[in-house]
């Protein structure tokens, strides 16, 4: 009993400290700028207003940035789910010549940091005339070594008998994969989707390098660029922040029960 109340005593104030800035961000988004610019700042919206949200929805560029981000993050998630689970299954279950070498090559890329790749990838995409297109933002997010590893670990943990029964019934490899294996992989896929969404949706440095036209900006790039320029329009900035953060919070809350489980089978926690 004593330990538990001690834990609450430690956790409660800290937890409030952690959510307070986010709660305040949401409240500020509903305040008129006149109330935000007073000192000391108001904590609660006395004059509840939607002007911040109206402002970003009728903006020339903000809705475009949101759409670009949805396209980039959506392609990243789709690419990861299809390519990484196919590869994870291939590496886990099918014996073919060169499998060890291919898997080692994929895993070796985990060690190479993004900074080393930034400049040559920029030059490569420039030669392919991909720079300043959404394609440049999308292609590096189509698959990742982490995704392949995560899915392979999951498929290794599945009992083989399930698939063998389907093969005996005359199902092809691809049929087994889509009808038997993939539906069972839902917890691993949930984790993969959340991590990919987190990375692609929030990415800043790569769009910053790869995209220069404002109409092709992603949300994060637009936010980062115009935070200074629109400094006085705090309600619009905070409304923009709320829209930028909400999908990920929702995805995390929906998928969070899968996290701890996935971390244990992937061996991430050692």
């Amino acid at each position: 009993m004593k330990r538990r109340s001690l834990a609450h005593l430690f956790l409660m104030p800290l937890a409030l400290l952690f959510v307070a800035p986010l709660v305040w961000m949401v409240l500020t988004a509903f305040m008129p700028d006149a109330d935000i610019n007073t000192y000391p700042p108001k904590l609660w919206p006395e004059h509840f207003t939607l002007t911040g949200f109206e402002r970003i929805l009728t903006d020339d560029e903000y809705p475009l940035w949101l759409a670009n981000t949805v396209v980039v993050a959506g392609s990243a998630v789709l690419g990861h789910v299809v390519l990484c689970s196919l590869a994870g299954y291939g590496f886990a279950r099918i014996e073919f010549r060169g499998r060890g070498l291919a898997f080692a090559a994929v895993m070796a890329t985990i060690m190479v940091p993004a900074q080393v790749l930034m400049i040559p990838t920029f030059l490569l995409f420039k030669n392919m005339e991909l720079i300043d297109t959404l394609g440049a933002a999308i292609v590096p997010w189509l698959a990742s070594a982490f995704g392949v590893f995560l899915m392979r670990q999951f498929f290794l943990s599945l009992p083989k008998e399930l698939e063998e029964a389907a093969v005996i019934d005359g199902c092809s490899r691809l049929g087994v994969f889509f009808r038997v294996v993939l539906p069972l992989a839902r917890p691993a896929l949930a984790t993969l989707v959340v991590f990919t969404l987190l990375g692609a949706w929030n990415d800043l440095i790569w769009p910053l390098i790869a995209i220069s036209s404002e109409s092709r900006y992603t949300l994060q790039l637009g936010l980062a660029t115009f935070a200074g320029a629109r400094h006085t329009e705090w309600s619009a900035l905070m409304a923009g922040n709320v829209v930028a953060v909400l999908p990920l919070v929702a995805a995390f809350v929906l998928a969070q029960r899968h996290f701890v489980a996935t971390m244990s089978f992937s061996g991430l926690k050692g």
Partner: protein
């Protein structure tokens, strides 16, 4: 007849040999091409670029190790390395220790556990751009809530991100806010994996809470700690996004980190050869640090 049967037989045998090969490659090839093509190939290219004085438009001349030698005399780079080191030394132990404390408390069977877990993890999903805007708002020296709070407590206001002496510390605090959810979740998963019998046995043997923590729980968490120290160190050495969205390296370059400096060299001053050389040295330092942590933990 038998010849035909034999031929059909070898045909089938060949088919049987080739089908799994092609199926296997069919499954793994698309992902492998994307990953290896956009990683190992550019990594080798980057090494060649770092030996030239290229400028993003032209390849430039081959200059051998000149870019690497230039780094030795670059005072701004040394300053950026120093800022990154200060940040790493504060952020890595801070986030790991706080994450452990949170996980130990969250591992008790208490009420509101889901609420707590969400509170500590949600800042982790908030992007650096959104965090940066929020931080500029909250830590504004004139109108920010933090200074309003300090004033209410009778304390003098501070400049935070606008004071060269405080800016890096403020960034560490913001990063801890956003980054502690990860170690907390990893430790929580590891704690739930410790066999109950192990802890109960230590209790029965008369071990106090602290004794059990030191001699049973912490050793069991060792692999998680090694992973987290390496992971958070890599994260800290690569700090960029938060700097870009808050201080842009200012005031007085006090928050210019290595990656921010690298970005400026390569994409604003177009010194791509020099930029890749810096990236390669950062890569080697990261490998060395990870190796040292692994080596120490293996002993």
């Amino acid at each position: 007849m038998t010849a035909l049967a034999a031929r059909v037989g070898t045909h089938q045998a060949r088919r049987r040999r080739w089908v799994p090969q092609l199926t296997g490659w069919g499954f793994v090839l698309p992902a492998t091409l994307v990953i290896v093509g956009l990683s190992l190939f550019p990594a080798v290219w980057a090494l060649l670029l770092s030996l030239r004085d290229g400028d993003l438009l032209t390849g430039g001349e081959y200059v051998g190790l000149q870019n690497y030698r230039d780094m030795l005399g670059d005072a701004a780079l040394a300053a950026a390395a120093g800022h990154t080191l200060v940040y790493t030394v504060l952020f890595v132990p801070g986030s790991v220790v706080l994450g452990l404390a949170l996980a130990l408390a969250l591992n008790l069977k208490i009420r509101l556990i889901g609420f707590y877990r969400t509170c500590f993890f949600v800042p982790y999903v908030v992007s650096a751009a959104a965090t940066g805007i929020l931080a500029n708002f909250v830590f504004d020296p004139d109108s920010g809530i933090v200074n309003a709070g300090l004033k209410a407590l009778g304390l003098p206001p501070m400049a935070f991100l606008q004071d060269p002496g405080q800016a890096m510390l403020t960034l560490v605090v913001i990063s801890l806010w956003g980054g502690v959810g990860m170690p907390a979740v990893v430790y929580l998963a590891a704690l739930q994996d410790i066999p109950r019998e192990l802890i109960e046995a230590a209790r029965v043997d008369g071990g106090s809470g602290r004794h059990v923590l030191h001699h049973v729980v912490l050793p069991q968490l060792r692999p998680a700690t090694v992973f987290l120290v390496i992971w958070q160190t890599i994260t800290a050495l690569q700090l960029f996004d938060l700097v870009y969205t808050t201080t842009k390296g200012q005031p007085l370059d006090s928050t210019t980190t290595i990656v921010f400096y690298l970005y400026r060299q390569a994409f604003q001053l177009f010194h791509s050869g020099y930029g890749t050389a810096i990236a390669y040295v950062l890569f080697l330092v990261t490998l060395a640090v990870s190796g040292a942590v692994l080596w120490r933990s293996a002993r």
